[in-house]
């Protein structure tokens, strides 16, 4: 009996070779290289849609899409992958589904939820490039730090109604490369801080201003992000970190070589290439490290008590991340006054970690410490 070739095999090969026929005519373009690329796109909004579409049409082999948000009607003016009947669906799931329709050869995975709940530092290290398409500084800073620890190249995108900003941070090339936070103006941190009360509890009444954008700027940002991801794969035109600003009215653009900031809040405290150690979330400090200082990726609530002596059940609050709560925590549910003291900490000694968390899960993304002046990242996993 003659051996039959599995249908999916010949189907995929023939269709794939035909699909990429024009790419194969480009002398500097290797479809195999592109197909081998692993890219994470954080945020499947306006820029995310364009970036995912471009990477898919280019035939990038693996694309992971992260977004917690759902599609709203007003998103449709800037979202090539969404339709009116998609309103209410998760953006990552919908974008991934549409991308798979564009090219079934591309492995597109959707992660519905906050990227931090799905992506560890170790997972970030498995990508060639992480492309940041979010809409707030806080997520950019967190993602940049994760890529810095992972040694993964980071592309930042930002837009308004007229301009496009693209930042390329080739963090895989060593510790001399500036990170996203290098040179960030102090007003950015002041803006982030305004969302929180003292101690990283969110302000319940805070509302973020929406920045108006159009498909013109988001399409250019998505094209530039994909182009830089490709350029990195082939020519590597930019040896260091660069920031590009494009004015879509005048078509002026500037390309700036970024300088490493010795006082940077993101990378100045990182010594050497960080050693990332995937670790169970349950705290167990190695003997001999009781006096070492550990810095948590997140502020942690360690105590919560009413100054007026009211008896409170705080078991659902203590030893959780501060950003899970808002400033209503200061109001005592018993005496109804603003009398609750909340202890929130970022740093712990090894002995304190054991004291607070012995046998319990540590709720942050990672813990940083130094061993012989070298940064070590305990990447916490469930």
């Amino acid at each position: 009996m003659p051996e039959t070739k599995p249908e999916s095999s010949w189907d995929l090969t023939d269709k794939a070779s035909g699909r990429y026929l024009r790419h194969n005519l480009i002398d500097w373009f290797s479809q195999e290289e592109v197909a081998a690329a692993r890219v994470a796109v954080i945020g499947a909004g306006a820029i995310g849609n364009e970036t995912i579409k471009n990477l898919t049409l280019l035939g990038v082999g693996m694309i992971d899409v992260f977004d917690f948000d759902t599609i709203e009607l007003h998103n449709l003016t800037r979202s090539v992958l969404f339709r009116e009947f998609d309103v209410g669906r998760n953006k990552a799931e919908c974008a991934a589904e549409r991308a798979r329709e564009l090219d079934p050869n591309v492995n597109v995975r959707a992660f519905a939820g906050d990227f931090r709940d799905h992506m560890s530092v170790h997972q970030a290290s498995t990508y060639d490039t992480v492309i940041c398409c979010v809409d707030n500084f806080e997520a950019r800073i967190r993602l940049s730090k994760m890529c810095l620890l992972a040694g993964t190249d980071f592309i930042n995108t930002g837009i308004d109604s007229r301009s496009v900003e693209i930042g390329f941070y080739p963090l895989s090339r060593g510790t001399d490369i500036p990170c996203y936070e290098c040179g960030l103006p102090p007003t950015v941190y002041q803006r982030v801080a305004r969302r929180y009360s003292c101690g990283w509890l969110k302000k319940a009444a805070f509302r973020e201003n929406a920045v108006p954008t159009t498909i013109i700027t988001s399409a250019m940002a998505g094209a530039a992000a994909a182009a830089i991801a490709l350029d990195k794969k082939f020519a590597g035109t930019h040896p260091g970190a660069v920031r590009i600003l494009i004015d879509t009215k005048t078509f002026r653009q500037s390309i700036v070589d970024l300088t490493k900031d010795p006082e940077c809040g993101g990378c100045a405290g990182i010594d050497g290439v960080p050693l990332v150690i995937p670790t169970k979330r349950t705290v167990a400090v190695v003997p001999g490290m009781e006096a070492e200082e550990f810095t948590s990726s997140d502020a942690i609530i360690t105590d919560c008590a009413c100054k007026n002596g009211c008896r409170l059940d705080v078991s659902h609050i203590v030893l959780r991340r501060a950003d899970e709560f808002d400033d209503r925590l200061f109001e005592c549910p018993v005496c109804k006054s603003n009398s609750v003291n909340v202890d929130i900490r970022h740093t712990f000694t090894g002995a304190e970690l054991i004291g607070f968390f012995d046998g319990k899960p540590f709720p942050a993304d990672y813990l940083l410490t130094k061993i012989k002046d070298h940064t070590v990242c305990y990447d916490l996993e469930d």
Binding site: I47, G48, N136, E165, L184, S218, R252
Partner: protein, 85 residues
């Protein structure tokens, strides 16, 4: 010399001015002066670049000889935050 004369402009080149600055001034001082004097939107964050050298000037960086020379053009650029929806 502890003074330097530069041209400062916005990224859209709608505003331009000649400024005499002290070498001890920082990048953040220049940005603040532009925001104050040109009434730039305060809900936007800005960075400063040297358009001639193509390098950014850090907020804490002083305008020393190796950073800025007389006649250099410095540009105030917005740090863009939108991207999602």
């Amino acid at each position: 010399m502890d003074m330097v004369i530069i041209i400062l402009r916005t990224a859209d080149q709608a505003r331009k001015a000649e400024l005499t600055l002290q070498r001890s001034n920082t990048g953040a001082d220049v940005i603040q002066a532009a925001v104050d004097n040109w009434n730039l939107p305060i809900d936007t964050d800005y960075s400063l670049i040297n358009a001639g050298s193509g390098k950014n000037i850090l907020p804490t960086q002083r305008l020393l000889d190796d950073v800025v020379k007389d006649g250099d053009v410095l540009e105030i650029q917005p740090v863009l935050v939108a991207g999602g929806m």
